[in-house]
Structures are given as C-alpha cells and as structure tokens.
Symmetry: C2
Subunit: 233 residues, 2 copies
Amino acid sequence: MATRSTRKLVSRLSNDDRTADIMAAARAVISAKGYENTLLSDIARQAGVVEGTIYRYFANKRDLLVKVVEVWFGEQLAIDSHLESISGTQNKLRYIAWRTLDIIRREPVLARFMLMELRPDPNYRSTAFFEMNRRFTHEVLALCRDAAERGEFLNDVSPNMLRDMLHGCIEHRTWAFLRGEGDFDIDEVADGIARVIYRGMFAQQVATRSDIGMAIARLEELAARLERKLDGG
Amino acid sequence: MATRSTRKLVSRLSNDDRTADIMAAARAVISAKGYENTLLSDIARQAGVVEGTIYRYFANKRDLLVKVVEVWFGEQLAIDSHLESISGTQNKLRYIAWRTLDIIRREPVLARFMLMELRPDPNYRSTAFFEMNRRFTHEVLALCRDAAERGEFLNDVSPNMLRDMLHGCIEHRTWAFLRGEGDFDIDEVADGIARVIYRGMFAQQVATRSDIGMAIARLEELAARLERKLDGG
DNA sequence: GGCTACTAATGAAGCCGATTCATTAGCGAA
DNA sequence: TTCGCTAATGAATCGGCTTCATTAGTAGCC
C-alpha cells in the first residue's frame, strides 16, 4: 500500500518500553485536554508513533485509557499509612473524607474519568479498578463495623449505607468542583460529613428510666437517714 | 441529488406536532436501547422521518435527548403534593429520599442520562434542567433550614451539605442499581439516609448518665453538709 | 559481514455514526 | 390554478476509531 519512499519507522523498542511510551503520551494528552477531547491521533502524535501502532499494545482506545487511569489511581492509593495514627472514630472519618477530596482536587481529570467512565461500566465489578476501589473504600466499612461491634455505633444502619453516604456526598460535591463552581472547601466538606455520620450513628449513653429510678432510690435513702437522725436526736 | 422517482414525503405537520413525534420516538428508543446504543437513525425510523429532518427541529442529537429528558423530569416533578401531609422532619426526609429513589427505579435509563450527560455539562447551571433540579432539591434545603431555625437541628453543618449527603448517597446507590447489582431496596436506603441525617443533626435535649451522676453527686454533697450540721448541732 | 526469519511499525483504506445541504414536494394564500 | 414558501428528503460529507496488507528494523546464525 504505502510506497517505499514515504515509509519511515521509529526505532523498535521492547514491548514494555513502547507500552510505557504510549501510556505516558496518553496520560499527558488526557490531562491536558480532558477525556472527551482526547483523540487517538493526539496520543499517537505525542508518543511519536502512528495510530495503528497503538492497536498492537492495546485492544482499543478505551482499553488504553482505562489502563492509564488504573496506574494513576494506584499511585494515589499507595500513599496511605497515616490513618492508623489518627485516634477517634470521628477524626478517622474526617481524615478519610478529606484524603479522598484531596485526591480529587489534585487530579480532577482522573476523578472525572472515574466517575464518568469506570463506574458506569456494566462489568465494573470485575475490573481491576473495582478491586482497587474496594480496598480503598474498605477503610470506611471496617471503621463503621468496628465501631458498631464495640458498641460505639448503633446497629440499625448498615456500614454499606454509611460508606455510600460518605462517598456519595463527596462525589456530589465533586461534580460541582469539576464544573468549576465555587471554591471547594474540602476541610468544611470533610468535617461536615464526618460530623453528621458520627453523630447520626453514635450510640449515645443517655439516661434511662432505670437510671432515674436509681437516682430517686438513692435520694430516698439519704432522706430517710437524715429523717432518722432528726427523729432520734 | 435525489431522483424524482424515489422521493416520498411524509405529510407536513405543524412544527409542534413534528417536534412531539420526534421526541416521543427518541424517548421510546432511548428507554428501550439505553443512551449509548441509541442511534439517530433508530430515532428517525421510529418517528417515520429521515435523519436529516431531525436537524430542522433540534440542533443535534444531544440537544434532542436533553429536551426529552427535560420533559420527562418535568413530569416527575409535577406529582408532588404529598410532602406537606407528612409530619415530622425525619419522616419528611425519608419521603423525599424515597420518592427520588422511586423515580430512578421506574426510569433507570433516563436517570442514567441525567447523571451521565446533564450534570457533567460545564454550563449545567444555566440549563433549564438545573433550574428544575434546584426546585426539586430545594425541599431538602428548606426542610433542614427550618429545622435549624426552630432549634430542632443543630447549626453546625450547612443545609447544602445535608442536601448533598442525601442526594449523593442516592446517586451512589443508583449506580449500583444501574449496573444491575443487588436488589435496590429503596425502603431500606431511604430509611437509612433519613435516620443518619436526622440523628446526626438533631439538637438533642436529653439528659445523659453523666448529667444524672453530677446531680446525684451534688445532692450527696448537700446531704453531707446537712448531716454535718445535725451532727455538730 | 551478509543472509534469513521474525515481527514491530506503518498508513491507507474501511467503517460507522452524526451532520450538512442542494433538491424536491406538499400546502396555504392570492 | 398558480405561486411562493418551507418542510422533508437522502446522498454526500466529515470526523473519529479500527483493520490489515505491506514495509523495514533487528537479532541470530553462519
């Protein structure tokens, strides 16, 4: 097809090198132009190859972008040992929310891709991404479950619901941020979420009728003793 | 271009009639095949017109589908007078959440369109859809604000945050439903959301065990003082 | 150092939708 | 009945992704 004279090949690299090149190019393009505006031809140009070459390494455009975002997301998850050093369930909740919001603030394009492309995928649950995300959100589940077992939290709302409230609220806020509305005060948001969930689930040690009954009994006992003294004196 | 012999025109209708035909066809196709699988040619065939005709009435495919969803969403908002008859802030919250979940359950494809196409739109805030959605979510805002003013709710988390928690959680659950996971128990979800938010914000005027303990300590102190007087006297 | 086999890289062609626009035909007004 | 307007047409275009027969680096062998 192509004439001999126009053909020029770039150097032949190992599979790994070429894959890395293309993914780096894709990452650069996607983060510069946003997901919907990313063309395969842009990626190819940036990587210094031709569009067809990409299909030797990736099944299709979406496959490429998913792999890029998986790596990206994995990097975010890696930095993650601070949680244990925080004490108190409410503080832990606040930190988890804050950290998630912070990732979103730093990498809005990534966040958008997650929300738009990965989560709606019908077989999301069998993707590598799901597994990573599961580990990520597992913290909230474990935290709430522990609190319930220790008696700190009530038992009447499932930890899954609480996790969804936390992440759902974060995502809802994220959309406003991604559209460029307002100033995205992540401290305020994280604090509000943690506060409402914690207070909403806290198994408050309120006084019961029997507590009050005991108090009355004690007062009656004291009064009786005084009375005896007065009578006797 | 076209030869005289092959050309056949459908009857010419008023603009409104033809617009309605196309929108009805679009709605049928999108709800049968899902948004990503909806082709303009499907819609045209269903409407009994040719693809090009659609461009006389709508700027492009997206414009058509947005208008379809706007009308649909408007219908949902119309049925909406039950809320006032419900008493109690928590019950109202539960009803609002339940009703939203119910709309989603009945029209999952359109719900998906809202979440995927309308909300991410950069000029979402200037769309008719935003205005409708504002009225829709305004109920939650008003409810929480009123409760705060009456002293039923605490003042330390903004009503906007609470609204986002409610809708965020609903949306998060919706994705799982749209992917066909689990059974989408909307009663449980609505109840959980309302419960956590209500309890989390309720300005609880109850006595705690420590309050009663302090009271008892104070009484014992008084009793001791009396006793000393009697003993000394 | 030349030859061969292997396969990475090429890029033109194919394909599949949305979108455009010159042409045609229905319809109401004069 | 004719005329003018414009709704409807559908072939052509366009803009992406994807395929695949062809070309050319490269490593291994003698």
